[in-house]
Amino acid sequence: MNKYRNSDKLATWLFLAPTLIYLGITALLPLLYSLYLSFFRMKLNLPNQVPRFIGLDNYARILSDKLLHTSTWNTLLFTVVSVSLEVVLGMMVAMVICSNKRWARNVTSILMIPMVMAPVAVGTLWRMMFDSTTGIINYLLSFVGIPGINWLSDPTMAMVSVIFVNVWQLTPWVTIICAAGLKALPGDCMQAALVDGATPGYIFRKIVLPLMKPVLVIVLMIRFIDGFKVFDTVYVMTNGGPGTATEMLPNYIYKQGLRFFDAGYAASLAIVFVLLMSVLSMGFLKWRKSEEEKVW
């Protein structure tokens, strides 16, 4: 078989080449360019402006940027609250629809609609429904005696709304993954526990949860990392407002770069953001690995 080895080697690299070249040019180079820009002062709106080298000034500015600290805190709050809700609710719904029967497939078909909807469309739809004067939500709430709530113009409620919309759109994703995981669980030990008179709560805590833990860790990881990248829904629902109540990191970087045209500062923010995300992903990967080793 050795005579095939050389041609295989060539073919392997030929197969990899398009992707490697492609990702090199469209992903790695821009990232390096970001790193380079982050040491310069560069305004995009001034014509013929030559980038001026300013060393670490952009990074120093990060440390004292109050609005950035607010955005970071908001992003963290948004992510932690929405991901927790999504995982708990998603798992609960998954428990009741993890069936191979026809009705479960049909329910899944409907539940998956929010997930495939464009986040921009989801954001505008809810913005319409949350509208404080003509919105349907306040109207429905008035029947149960709740007076009109300024969903998107009150700082606290704006954050609640943005979280709510994220939960509405992405709980189905958690549900589908968890249902797939639940379906694959071995039935015998649960049956045995049942025969021995274990309560469902006990079975859930002692059998279902431990067996589902690797799946839940991955779901948590993917949702957490995606939560940090939230942009579209915030952009159309509040654009960071009112004031800075729902300003999140991606939106803030976007504004610095493409609204205020401060390319150098935006680049340094992007670099810090990437570093933060890398640390986060590495932490999660380590955790996941240790979970996998425990199970297998």
């Binding site: 041609s7 295989d8 080697k9 073919a11 392997t12 690299w13 197969f15 990899l16 398009p18 492609y22 992903a27 821009p30 360019y33 970001s34 719904v93 428990m95 009741v96 993890c98 069936s99 191979n100 029967k101 329910v107 899944t108 078909s109 409907i110 539940l111 609609i113 929010p114 495939v116 464009a118 921009v120 469309a121 739809l125 319409m128 003509t134 349907i136 509405w168 589908i176 993954i177 639940l182 379906k183 669980l185 071995p186 039935g187 649960m190 469902p200 991955i218 942009f231 579209d232 159309v236 991606p250 976007y254 770069g257 493409l258 390319a263 992007a270 953001f273 990437v274 995300m277 890398s278």
Partner: protein, 294 residues
Amino acid sequence: MVTEKRRKPRDYTSVEAILSAFAGRPFKYIMITLSLLLVLFPLYWLTTSAFKLPQEYLAYPPVIVPSALTTESFTEIFTRDRVLTYFGNSMIISIVTTALTTLFGSMAAYAVVRGPLGKRARSIFGIWFLVQKMYPAIATAIPVYLVMRTLGLMDTQMALIIMNTSFNLPLVIWLMMGFFEQTPYSLEESAMLDGCGFMGRFFRIILPMTKPGLIASAILTFNATWNEFLFAVILSIKRSKTLPVVIAGFITDRGLAWGPMAATALVTLIPVIILTWIVQKDFVNGLAMGAVKG
């Protein structure tokens, strides 16, 4: 007893059996009804708003059951807002991106899984693609904007195809690696003995076997590209706008035009729902696989 057991196929899952053995019933029905209601009501609202008369989509108290249905909003978006052009943009960009990503992604995945690479090279590529999948798109937004401006690619479909392919490649590679790892290597060995080269094995033996994987990759890429907003809004001005950019435009430019906005959102939503439903099984499998893999 044995035949009794055999006649009962595994048409229920173990968790389902446990739940139904206890007083899970009311809980189950309440949960399902509630979640269906929560999903369907906003969609009902979107659909009816798109077909309502202008005085009804702006009315207070809101009109829950419209008194008459009209396609006025649709006529408006297709004539005044030229939504058909943008629909075409979205379609071309998504289809080309999907084709490129699925082809290059599965080739790269096959090379990593079955190519004669060292163990270290294999794991380096694996980690690279995984990290690439996680890192935030916003990080490259400014440099990409500058480069596209310099190259004169601003406001072209090409620019969006290039960027969307870049975002989706790592995901497809990871997904396809999972599918390729599940194919039996012995098949390839016997093909090798018959003198079948690397390319032949990939295109003639492995790809036909992993069709569900290819479908899952294609649908995930298509949906992601169809719905992509960040780069679409940065890199398009007028000609290459996609549907999400048009929808967002309603908020900033038109204020309370709920009817046309809902109509555009509906036009954006329908193709992906239909596509996803057609390949639902592969879509769900792909999601689960992608999650389990990384």
